[in-house]
Symmetry: C2
Subunit: 187 residues, 2 copies
């Protein structure tokens, strides 16, 4: 049935985790609840429907294990289709939209690349962030310098807060890029 192209952010996170190792809904809930990966809900009302959607789209495949033991677990594994979707998500070009509005998503993407994409792909990703984010930060800086004259103090400071966040992410991307370049120079 439904061949929806793009799962939600939660769906993508689940897909990546299931790819790393086959898991049940309960496993994944525990992961979210215990880990320092906040901004993900561990509520069953979010996770189980998300898993069902992924299975409807044939990105994962659930099989019930331990039927005899009266404590059955529905364990999900990624499908070839799911692997393709995951790869497409991880490898797609970074846009300005992404760096302006989806920093959480980018961080998630980065975390999911580990052990899946090679260092060259990671480098392309980080380069993409720097390429898109640097001019935006420059624009914001320009705006903070010249465009906030009519704004009240609170407004000016609020702009500075946003700017600081973006700048910090840009710096992180540059450092991470350097990190991966060092490991890559040998080709």
């Amino acid at each position: 049935m439904s061949s929806k192209a793009t799962p939600s952010m939660l769906g993508r996170a689940l897909l990546a985790l299931i790819h790393r190792s086959p898991s049940s809904g309960y496993d994944l809930r525990k992961l979210f609840a215990e880990s320092h990966l906040h901004h993900f809900s561990s509520s069953p009302g979010a996770i189980y429907p998300a898993l069902q959607r992924l299975e409807n789209d044939a990105l994962i495949q659930g099989t019930v294990e331990q039927i005899d033991t009266l404590r059955p677990r529905r364990v999900y594994r990624i499908t070839p289709r799911g692997l393709a979707a995951l790869r497409a998500w991880l490898e797609c070009r970074v846009t300005r939209e992404d760096v302006v509005s989806n920093i959480k998503d980018l961080t998630l993407r980065f975390a999911c690349m580990g052990g899946h994409l090679d260092d060259a792909a990671t480098l392309r990703f980080l380069d993409g962030i720097v390429t898109e984010l640097a001019p935006f930060v420059a624009e914001l800086e320009e705006f903070a310098r010249t465009g906030t004259g009519d704004l009240p103090v609170h407004g000016r400071l609020a702009v500075k807060s946003g700017l600081a966040q973006y700048r910090s992410f840009l710096e992180w991307a540059r450092e991470a890029r350097n990190h991966f370049q060092e490991g890559e120079t040998g080709g």
Copy 2:
């Protein structure tokens, strides 16, 4: 009817803007579309229903102007109830939850304080951020130092990215606090 306590983030933003100056839905859409305040949608499907909810809760009051001119505008004004709700939102204590998960919301709150709360209240707010955020950042730093040994490189770097964001916001809050303290010393 419905006396819902807390409007959504969009609702709160609209409430604050309407408080600043009475506005129509169209005015507000333009504001969101043009301003550097991203992370707010200017789509009519978001704004008009949000305004209706605010009016249902008697936080704002709409009156049609220019009925004769064949181009009527529904202009909203804040009500006493709305003013109370706005004040309650702006003045409520900053929690750990807030600094961990709702940084956008805190920034919005700060921006909305301008010209509405006095500097003492702003100081309390910024102090609250520092008080709640500093220990959390310390914990995260501790975790980044000692707890990420089993994580792959990507995971470690992703944690660092989050940490950098929080640290940046904490620094901003400290600087802003200093800014307001200087202006307040004469009290």
